[in-house]
Amino acid sequence: MNKQAIWAVAKKDMLAIKESIQIWLPILILPIVFCLVLPAGLILAIKYFGNAGNVDQIISLLEQLPPGSIRDSILQWDEQNLQILYFFLVYLFAPFFLMIPVMISSVVAASSFVGEKERKTLESLLYTPIDIASLFWGKLLSAFIPAIGLTLISALGYMLVVNILGYDLFGQFIFPQANWLVLIFWVVPTVSLFAIFLNVYVSARVKGFQEAYQLGGLVILPIIALFVSQMAGIMFFSSLVLVALGFIMLVVDLFLVYKTTKDFDRNRLFMSQVK
């Protein structure tokens, strides 16, 4: 492994993202909408109109919550509106912060090798003395850094917005929370790596963008769906569950690293671009 080469590949690919508006625009819009516009709208709606629309179902859901710290944390607020708001801000919005990095890393990682193939630059890359593992790690980093960076920034922005706008209502800052810290700093990186590994793997195997996006999307979408639906539930559990989830993802990641480095050599990568 060659640090200088890994960093060169990662830097080159991140510059390419910056130069392609089709890639970075959706990447930017998603966090802004989910992390700033939605929570701000929700808080302001409750603040000025006193309710957030038809909330009967949510109320009945809240009433059915099993006894425990989550129920307690929600029911600490006297007003029903605040209970609902707190439930949304702390629990229901959490999965978005898993979706953002997964989406960003999928988009970037899917085009990692395929991009080189389409631009016919993979061949000259393979002629250089860079080892294949370094090439892979460079590609991984080029997706990982923007995914994690943007997620951190959006999470920070989200917490700031919620704290500032919500202070009047709650009378205190509701972030940071332990669950969230575990989510952002432990689950998000491991799950992002998982999405990246899968997409880079697919990207290295297929010949064109279409295949990469389709296959990559096929693999990722059910996983995202599963995660988003489960996350809503998992956030009801303790930080411990999140820590465990991170560990499971880490094990899967390590397996994928092993598989990727085992499956690809220079010749295999070269042949994968031949049409």
Binding site: Q4, V9, S124, L125, T128
Partner: protein, 212 residues
Amino acid sequence: MTAKDNLKFFAALYGLKYVEERIEQLLEDFGLADAQDKLVGAYSTGMKKRLGIARALLHKPEILFLDEPTNGLDPEGSRSLLNYIRRLNEEQGVTILICTHLLKQVQDLCHSFVFIDQGRFLEQGTLIELEDKYLGAVKVEVETPLDVNEANFPDFPVIDQRPGYLVFQVQDKEQIPQLLAAVLAKAPVYSGNILGRDLEALYFKIRGEQDE
């Protein structure tokens, strides 16, 4: 990516450090200095080829493999590229291996040749060596006003003619001075030229011989 960034990127892959000067020198050498900040995507085929060779030279290699280096280039582009290649060899002593099917192009450029057919080695040598081995009976075109009827030399039959030229057959190169002396005894000689000695003709002879 611009040409300069491209070279920097590849320098990093080669594990090179402190490459600024080297990159500037290469861009200068390959006539890309003015276009160094343009995107490579906007380059012409010739410029891309030159950039490709500049890239291959970043780490000052002792040997350079080029596969069809003039493929897709116009005549000017090919010529300037071949000149770069020649200079590279003469000035920096780089050994260059060119894989090509454009025999005429490399005939005067390369010092020696290897013929390979379907991955199988056929023959190798300098042009002179190949000639000695494969030229065989030599056809000599002599520019002379001598009439074909007077050119009745028993050892050197006339095999072709056109106004002002006669083509003789001789057994080998060593007989050419005798032929010329014989012609000169009867008429002036303005020029003499061995036919079929170019690399392409030799190539067909070598292939023909191997096929038999």
